[in-house]
Symmetry: C2
Subunit: 384 residues, 2 copies
């Protein structure tokens, strides 16, 4: 069937009807009073969502652009940075930091495993001369469905005292509790096509006072991604450059929906979605890539053994019109990923698990107890 | 009245209903075959619109981001560049080039006057050691409604032989003939919220083989705006980072509409809109900022003397729901600007001129012959 797609990838995520319709309105001028009001409301709501009094700045970029802004505004060529890398995105921040002439030390873990917080502790404790200027960590590693322990790593960064804590929260913001002010996170970057429930095209960066101090002496060249003018104009509910007005209007609507649901409910829902998905997948005898204790609330990676991951993805798409994500880089063909981030409900998980079971049947996998997936997912919902 | 806005600013410009509705569809995965097909079609259509066989790359940025990508990918710190500056945007490219450590020589003209092509000729002819690496010129200066003579300046750049010709075509692309291959323009940047008839959020950069040669040795740091990966992935109808899928789907629709209208018809229409607007404004005894011979096809700047520009803008907005743009920087309060770019028809110009006359009456300006504005605009349409 046409137009029947169910989008269960870790971004873009599904967009509510009322957001789509808000975005379909004729654009208005970005320098108008009317748009200023929208920007004002959106900026306040973003602070609420980020649990912070810090600046939260809105840029016309993808998540990678937001991370780049978050890194280059506060550092100078030759600065030493620790970069956690246990997946495609951690990897990317390492490459990006190298491209900007930073002195990068990678702290790696296998894809599918969480970063070892002790390694951060050791490196930071050993740095008595305070040469480490920033620690860059991916919170929810989208490529593997692993959630890194930002809270613990951040404690070691705080003990260090000098380094800035920079977090890629692209698939965790609005899905998992990340209290920026409570923890004192300096830079947190995210993108619109994830927990925000709107299409891609906007990036967000929250910036602490400590990071703004570093900004004053940071020497990496910048203009479009120079956060100074974004901060200055945000105070007047404006932007240095033309923002994607239709997306911002969609964002306004989505943030209202999120406020109505409430932060705790949103986090609880994502926990439920994650647990039910994992329970359902396990009950279908499909191995999960990462451990339960470090499971991302946004995406679950499945590493099937007795049947090819791509075959499952193909039937899910062709027969059931459910789009799942494949593996990236060396995990290509070895895993598939179920997105359960943003505008996703308990019902959606039941649908995916049901279709997954049907797909296994269609592929001739006969080791599965009929109904086991749904039974396991339903049990999670019944108990939570 | 609510929801009755008529947007006559030089960006964002009006968006056709069918484009808005295309954008309001549920997002699809950016790595799906379906989206690949859309990207493939869009890339081909962009080449048609740019009149080029060069790469035309699509980025998630505003126009400023597209210009930055166009500059930093092909230059190294300390490179000497000539930057034409006769308005806010030429000014901006000078500041941007300085921010990236280029050795900037500004060739300036008063705001409202065109750049003097002879000054480019002299500078380029004097540079026998070929130290000038790029010439950066704004084609249509949005802040003043002046069209710079890119064709002539480009001839001098070609005589020089070494320098790259970089053009800000943000408000000229899709409005004025800019034959990239015929003229041999190296870098041409533009933004979606202008002639493209879609909302802001996408930037475009066309890159010549000569520019790609310069890319190989260019040393300015870059990652998100590194055009290499955009070019590589574009060949596979993909993107290095998540693109704003809904905007791209809107772009597909808008480009189809443009192909249906045809390039010559589009250029002719913008010439008509420009001439009729200028004739109507003159007939209302309102002075134009720039000369007719260098008039932008996208925007007309009006510098009223006997009545305040902002009073005109206010009545136009409050009584007639027509949004006009104000002046920028030192022209703030001194001019207003009528956008006639993109999805704008002859009828829209009649509407604006009619409302402008009514506004002058409301403001007590009694020196205007009743009906003179419409009569003059209608004459242009009748004769063309």
């Amino acid at each position: 069937m046409n137009d029947k797609l169910m989008l269960m990838i870790p971004g873009p995520t599904p967009v509510p009807e009322q957001v789509l319709l808000a975005m379909a309105k004729h654009p208005i001028g970005h320098r108008s009073g009317e748009f200023g009001q929208i920007m004002g409301e959106v900026t306040q709501s973003l602070k609420w969502l980020h649990q912070t009094e810090n600046d939260v700045l809105t840029l016309t970029v993808s998540g990678t652009g937001a991370m780049e802004a978050g890194i280059i505004n506060f550092l100078s060529p030759g600065d030493r940075v620790l970069v956690g890398s246990n997946g495609k995105f951690g990897d990317r921040w390492g490459k990006m930091s190298t491209a900007f002439g930073l002195e990068v030390e990678l702290i790696t873990a296998d894809w599918g495993k969480p970063l070892d917080t002790e390694q951060f502790k050791e490196k930071l404790a050993a740095d008595t001369e305070k040469t480490i200027k920033a620690v860059i960590v991916t919170h929810s590693e989208t490529s593997t469905g692993v959630l890194n322990d930002v809270e613990t790593i951040n404690r070691y960064v705080k003990d260090h005292g000098e380094a800035l804590m920079m977090v890629d929260a692209v698939t965790s913001l609005g899905a998992f509790n990340l209290p920026i002010d409570d923890w004192g996170l300096d830079v947190v970057a995210s993108g619109s096509q994830k927990g925000y429930m709107i299409p891609p095209g906007l990036g967000f960066v929250s910036v602490s006072p400590k990071a703004w101090e570093a900004y004053k002496t940071a020497k990496l060249p910048k203009f479009y991604l120079d956060l100074g003018p974004y901060s200055k104009t945000a105070k007047k509910n404006s932007n240095p450059f033309t923002p994607p007005v239709n997306l911002v209007i969609g964002l306004q609507m989505a943030l209202r929906m999120m406020q109505q649901e409430g932060l705790e409910s949103i986090f609880d829902r994502h926990q439920r979605l994650m647990k039910a998905t994992r329970a359902g997948v396990k009950a279908l005898s499909l191995p999960l890539l990462g451990p339960d204790e470090y499971a991302s609330p946004a995406v679950t990676a499945v590493a099937p053994v007795s049947v090819e991951a791509e075959k499952i993805r193909t039937v899910m798409k062709k027969h059931y019109d459910i789009a799942l994500a494949g593996g990236q880089d060396h995990l290509k063909g070895k895993i598939f990923r179920i997105g359960h981030l943003g505008f996703v409900s308990d019902r959606d998980v039941l649908t995916v698990i049901g279709a997954l079971e049907a797909t296994l049947q269609e592929l001739g996998v006969d080791s599965v107890t009929p109904g086991a997936g749904i039974a396991a997912a339903a049990k999670v919902f019944a108990q939570s």
